[in-house]
């Protein structure tokens, strides 16, 4: 087991716990940057897609994993980010301004929406946000003059200092753009986690009473969490728009909201890794199944909806196997290796566990 000898307060504050993990992440980033030369356009497109979902996952993770507020309506904020970015660009703003502006606008609107929503807990919040996601569809239609209603909008070509970026024309550049955004969002997320705000989020999640007694303003903290979450989600939404090329009222449906929540739970609530792991499962697994099906039973459609059905079954197995999400399993495997050869075989056998009501607030 690696033991960190803490010699200064800096130690806990640092971005990476030790040099080893710094090296691992540095290597990861180098590989990520070089990826377009390593894999073909198909896989590059898939990786890009996974990264976009991971960014969206980070957004929802901030709210659900860190602050404990489950939202089933984040597709609405994807839509908001997407539409506002495209509209800003149509108004002539360069991408480098329009994109962050879209994030900020989504964050602000998210905060405003949060004001009534923060009094809600658990399932009430989940269903209220779900209603929001359903209404978003209609609101886009009703706001036809701005959103172009059911006909939708086309994503313009991104231009950064004369470099044109387009998902299909220049998939590698688009990938790098997404990668940069993903890294920035991860850094911001990590920074918030290691500062007072991040701890306030966790405090609100674990015990509202004692958070209050410690001087944390519950509503304000939740609203801020909502805001940051929506801002990151908005950025992901904008990228999703560029990825699809077209957005309509049907693009960001309730199914997307549900998928997002599913993603972070399967990845592992409350961790940055979880958002990325979850994105791989949710965004790439269906594609993987489609590839697998071809090699196993050949092309064509032997059984309609097979991929979705199998996808559902695999998700069920994932949850049964590891209710704490993939990140939970990842940690266990790491601990196992670190303890090697002293780990017991049944070290992680699940001990019986019991729940108490969540109806007390």
């Amino acid at each position: 087991m690696r033991i960190h000898f803490k010699t200064s307060y800096e130690h806990d504050i640092r971005l990476f716990p030790d040099r080893w993990s710094f090296l691992v992440y540095a290597l990861l980033i180098v590989v990520a940057v070089l990826l377009p030369w390593l894999i073909d356009d198909f896989f590059l497109g898939e990786v890009t897609n996974v990264l976009i979902w991971a960014i969206a996952g980070l957004g929802l993770m901030m709210l659900t994993g860190q602050t404990g507020q489950a939202s089933l309506g984040h597709a609405a904020f994807l839509a908001l980010g997407c539409y506002s970015c495209i509209i800003f660009m149509e108004q002539g703003l360069p991408f480098l301004i329009a994109f962050p502006a879209a994030g900020i606008l989504t964050g602000i609107i998210g905060t405003i929406i949060a004001i009534p929503a923060i009094r809600l807990h658990g399932i009430y919040l989940a269903i209220a946000t779900m209603a929001l996601s359903i209404l978003a569809d209609d609101i886009i239609v009703l706001m036809e003059p701005i959103t172009n209603g059911v006909s939708g909008k086309f994503a313009p070509v991104i231009n950064i200092f004369g470099i044109e970026i387009e998902r299909w024309g220049t998939p590698d550049r688009f990938y790098w753009l997404v990668l940069v955004v993903a890294i920035i969002c991860t850094l911001i997320y990590r920074n918030i986690l290691r500062s007072p705000l991040g701890r306030a989020f966790a405090a609100v999640r674990d015990s509202e009473v004692s958070a209050t007694a410690m001087g944390i303003h519950i509503s304000r903290t939740k609203a801020i969490s909502f805001g940051i979450s929506c801002a990151i989600t908005g950025l992901a939404g904008a990228l999703m728009g560029f990825f699809s090329g077209i957005v309509t009222n049907e693009t960001f449906s309730i199914v997307i909201s549900i998928t997002l929540l599913m993603m972070i739970v399967i990845g592992g609530l409350g961790s940055i890794h979880g958002a990325f792991f979850g994105a791989v499962v949710v965004a790439f697994l269906p594609q993987f199944l489609s590839l697998a099906k071809e090699t196993v039973i050949g092309g064509g459609v032997a059984i309609p909806g097979l991929e979705t059905g199998v996808f559902g079954m695999i998700l069920i197995l994932f949850i049964l196997f590891e209710p704490m999400g993939i990140y939970g399993r990842w940690m266990k495997i790491r601990i196992w290796f670190e303890l090697f050869p002293f780990a017991r075989k049944d070290m992680f056998k699940r001990q019986k566990s019991y729940l108490k009501t969540e109806r007390l607030r």
Binding site: Y9, E10, D12, I13, I188, N191, I192, R194, S195, P196, L197, G198, R199, A200, A202, A203, R205, D206, S207, V209, S210, A211, T212, A213, M214, G215, I216, H217, I218, I224, I228, G270
Partner: protein, 256 residues
């Protein structure tokens, strides 16, 4: 000495139950003031009134010249009032260190933007918070548990962590709800020294609820005995312990 906390004619009812009944008392700066009384006498409710979790039906609560009733629950901590809970309310999915750091929340002076970028100011502040917290950890001998999750800690340690969290906020008034319940004799003795040091070395005023009369008489300057939400007796520990009404309602004949 001046009164730090003043409660006047406070009354609170839950349906038909009068939990606090026209209660008046005050806590002087620098003293240890204990509240004792039978189960259900309204002791925790008094704490909850001070924490602003409940609104009193009548009466006033003043802290160092501030009317607490003008404030929201989260603004109470800003004045320098910290508390622990009878049933332990910690942040279960965080480590001991993080729990204590949350105690520092009222000293936060950075904003969202600075924190998102982790500017040097945030870094400086974080260091300062950690220094303060490490002092508390040293004081309460919590080093072995620093990076442990709360969820797996024994009851007694959690009690101490909760005390630490309250201390980390650097309060002027500390409210302790049954600090020694569930602690062994040895740990209760530690608690006694800690409370003594908190008052003497840190100059923090302590208001506590406790059933362990040994601890109460060992550390407190004054004791208030409560029954059915109203004052039964008030005075030095010895006076209260020998009060027949208190013996009858609370201590029992067997108590020495």
């Amino acid at each position: 000495m001046s009164n730090l906390l003043e409660i006047k004619n406070a009354t609170l009812k839950f349906g038909g139950v009068t939990a606090v009944n026209d209660l008046t008392f005050s806590v002087e700066e620098g003293e240890v003031y204990a509240i004792v009384g039978p189960n259900g006498a309204g002791k925790s409710t008094v704490f909850n009134l001070i924490s602003r979790f409940y609104d009193p039906y009548a009466g006033s609560i003043n802290f160092d010249g501030n009317n607490l009733l003008d404030r929201n629950a989260d603004a109470v901590a800003d004045l320098g009032i910290a508390r622990t809970f009878q049933n332990i309310e910690l942040f279960d999915h965080a480590t001991v260190l993080q729990n204590l750091l949350v105690g520092r929340h009222r000293h936060r002076s950075t904003n969202l933007l600075q924190e998102a970028l982790f500017t040097s100011k945030v870094r400086r502040e974080e260091k300062r918070h950690r220094e303060a917290v490490e002092e508390v950890i040293d004081f309460l001998d919590l080093q072995p548990y620093r990076d442990k999750m709360i969820a797996g800690l024994p009851y007694g340690v959690r009690k101490v962590v909760e005390l630490g969290r309250a201390l980390a906020s650097g309060p002027r008034l500390l409210l302790l709800d049954e600090p020694a319940s569930g602690l062994s004799v040895e740990e209760t003795q530690d608690m006694r020294w800690w409370i003594d040091d908190i008052r003497k070395q840190m100059g923090i005023t302590v208001l506590m609820v406790e059933h362990d009369m040994g601890l109460v008489s060992g550390v407190s300057d004054r004791v208030l005995a409560l029954a059915d939400g109203a004052k039964l007796a008030e005075g030095t520990p010895a006076q209260v312990q020998s009060d027949p009404a208190v013996i009858e309602a609370y201590l029992g004949a067997g108590a020495a």
